[in-house]
């Protein structure tokens, strides 16, 4: 499968009070056409920054992003704006993603206006179509303002706005974290349905492993700006190679009282991204760490078919 999106050695650096913060450090990933790649990690791991860097909303300080053969990192101005129609983004806070002073009809039609669809009739028709596709009644919805809707409905509107141009790649940045449990399932189902209907490729960013598992074909795990492990979903869950992946799996609360919560989880917290540990960044919390881990940065190596881990002492 040819890669639709190719990320090579991507680095995003911030200056924070004189020091350099590497939000994303030398990350390389590929997303094939039609697949869903889940990107998982805890706060501070850089997954959101990565998503924005791919779209060039935050310019990477190093590395390349190639989309369907075109190098996005080299594009600028008009060329980049034209490319944007093919890559879209869905955000975490659905209500904040909508302009509080514009009507829903306006908001969803905006992409069409930007891309030069002049005919009002056609705009309205396409807005109605996409609103119906996401399960909203256009007549009820188009004239109202965002604050009149719930979180779940706003997220549907955001998805409608993202899909009206029929993009090829959609980056979902924590699309369900801010929603109630019962609504999450609705939106996840909706995303899957939309993916099928529009033939989308998804980069699904989240911190909840169970959510990511439900929708992804492959999963990439990030920690403090670096990739720890990449692999097919079921394989990764069944036989994680990186200790951090295993830690994440153990920490998930299981809604079954007969399953005792795992004891003796790795102590401590993620170190500050401003002062990451040398070598392998996870070594301060890893029960298998040794001197090599402090001296040498582990590279992604193939552990099993299609599964890569950046670890000197992988599990299994």
């Amino acid at each position: 499968m040819t890669a639709l999106l190719s990320i090579e050695n991507l680095t995003v650096e911030y200056a924070v009070g004189g020091k350099a913060l590497f939000a994303v450090s030398d990350v390389s990933l590929e997303v094939g056409r039609g697949e869903t790649l889940g990107l998982v990690g805890e706060s501070g791991c850089g997954k959101s920054t990565l998503g924005r860097a791919v779209l060039q909303l935050r310019r990477p300080t190093g590395g390349r992003v190639t989309f369907d053969g075109t190098e996005l990192t080299r594009l600028d101005g008009e060329a980049l704006r034209l490319m944007r129609r093919r890559l879209q983004l869905i955000f975490q806070d659905p209500i904040a993603s909508l302009n509080p002073r514009r009507s829903i009809g306006d908001i969803v039609a905006e992409p069409l206006v930007i891309t030069g669809v002049v005919d009002r009739g056609e705009r309205e028709r396409r807005v109605r179509d996409v609103l119906a596709a996401v399960g909203l009644d256009a007549d009820l919805v188009m004239g109202r303002l965002p604050h009149e809707f719930s979180g779940g409905q706003c997220q549907r509107i955001c998805i409608a706005r993202a899909l009206i141009l029929e993009p090829e790649l959609v980056i979902c940045d924590e699309p369900v974290s801010a929603l109630d449990v019962s609504i999450r399932a609705q939106i996840l189902n909706l995303l899957e349905d939309m993916k099928r209907r529009y033939g989308l490729t998804l980069l699904f960013i989240a911190h909840d492993l169970a959510v990511v598992k439900a929708v992804s074909d492959r999963i990439a795990v990030m920690y403090l700006g670096r990739l720890c492990e990449v692999g097919p979903t079921e394989q990764l869950f069944a036989r994680p190679a990186h200790p951090y992946t295993a830690l994440l799996l153990e920490a998930i609360p299981v809604p079954d009282p007969t399953v005792k919560p795992a004891a003796n989880l790795a102590a401590g917290e993620p170190p500050s991204p401003l002062d990451p540990p040398s070598g392998c960044r996870f070594r301060t919390r890893c029960p298998r760490a040794d001197q090599t881990c402090a001296d040498v940065v582990p590279e992604l190596r193939e552990i099993a078919v299609g599964q890569f881990a950046a670890c000197h002492h992988p599990l299994g």
Binding site: S182, A185, Q186, L188, I252, P253, P255, D256
Partner: protein, 330 residues
């Protein structure tokens, strides 16, 4: 049987709004014995936070409270403000969801802990400082002596929550109410914080109410679970029995809607259609009826009472409870 430490009797909370009176909490009964953990589960708008505020007597001024809250034999709804203030800390403590707003951002951690100890336990500054360091160490904060001089924004979210817990536990309360204590935290930190709460609870024989929207959080860590929907308790049972056999369709749907680790990817999730009800427009019948797969005319006409028809210590409010044959439901 030990007398309950906390007894919530017929509590309801009404808020006046421009759109009419909002019944945030509707006739809730709860009981909690010393040293036990109660989990309250529900989504946003179900009234769980208002309920915790009602128990703590921290409701907004314009709220109207009905019913009684008995704590250690005293009716909190009738206590004068000064007596209530003395209860909070040594007997009743709370940990909130967002430690950044529950800690004062312009005071050092040390000041906040020491002030609490001085105010409630009458310690002098030096003794309070020593105790403060002990408490921080007990909640797993590295280098506690230095932390005393730091400000909340210098600590990570997990650390701040540990500090909030340390402050809450500093006066050895009999009851701790934890309102979504880990929702804002990463999953690995969440596990650590929940472990910490469980450990401290065991050590101090403290009663705890754990409020959350996550059924996974209550599964392994509570003795009893109460599920709230639209301001009422719709199911209440000992934890193991609840998960083994849910009676209320809402509870079952809630559990089913959580993506499971052991199901393969791209499995469609059984979503609950619709949205939680509008609290300003209460329905005549069961609040869950519009979204319930099993709802019928009776469900829409009359609200099912919360009862224990099986006499098994499990309460639920449903005309057609799950797992029972039709003839069993009156």
């Amino acid at each position: 049987m030990t007398a309950p430490l906390l007894s919530v009797e017929g509590v309801s909370v009404e808020l006046p709004t421009p759109r009419g009176a909002l019944r945030a909490v509707d006739n809730v009964d709860l009981a909690l014995a010393p040293g036990r953990t109660l989990g309250i589960v529900g989504e946003s708008g179900c009234g769980k936070t208002m309920l915790s505020r009602a128990i703590l007597q921290l409701l907004p001024k314009r709220a109207r409270l009905g019913g009684r809250v008995m704590f250690a034999g005293r009716d909190l709804t009738n206590l004068p403000a000064e007596a209530l203030r003395r209860l909070r800390g040594p007997e009743l403590a709370v940990v909130f969801q967002d430690p950044m707003t529950s800690l004062n951002p312009v005071l050092t951690i040390g000041t906040q802990i020491i002030e609490t100890l001085q105010a409630h336990l009458g310690m002098d500054a030096a003794a309070a400082a020593t105790r403060g360091v002990e408490l921080l160490a007990a909640v797993g904060i590295p280098a506690p002596a230095q932390r005393l001089r730091q400000y909340p924004h210098q600590l990570s979210g997990g650390m701040r929550q540990r500090v909030a817990i340390a402050i809450a536990l500093s006066c050895e309360p009999k009851l701790l109410i934890a309102d979504e204590p880990t929702t804002a935290l990463d999953v690995t930190v969440q596990a650590q914080i929940l472990d910490l709460l469980a450990r401290e609870q065991q050590r101090r024989h403290m009663a705890m109410i754990l409020i959350t929207h996550d059924l996974g959080v209550v599964a392994g860590r509570t003795d009893e679970v109460a599920v709230m929907y639209a301001g009422r308790i719709v199911e209440r049972a000992p934890t193991s029995r609840l998960f083994a056999g849910m009676r209320m369709p809402y509870t079952e749907a809630l559990l089913a809607a959580i993506p499971k680790l052991d199901s393969p990817p791209h499995t469609p999730l059984p979503a609950i259609a619709g949205r939680p009800p509008d609290p300003t427009r209460p329905l005549a019948g069961c609040s869950f009826a519009p979204r319930c797969r099993y709802a019928d005319g009776r469900c829409r006409a009359a609200k099912p009472p919360l009862g224990d028809p099986e006499r098994a210590g499990t309460l639920y409010a449903c005309w057609h409870p799950l797992g029972l044959s039709e003839s069993a439901s009156a």
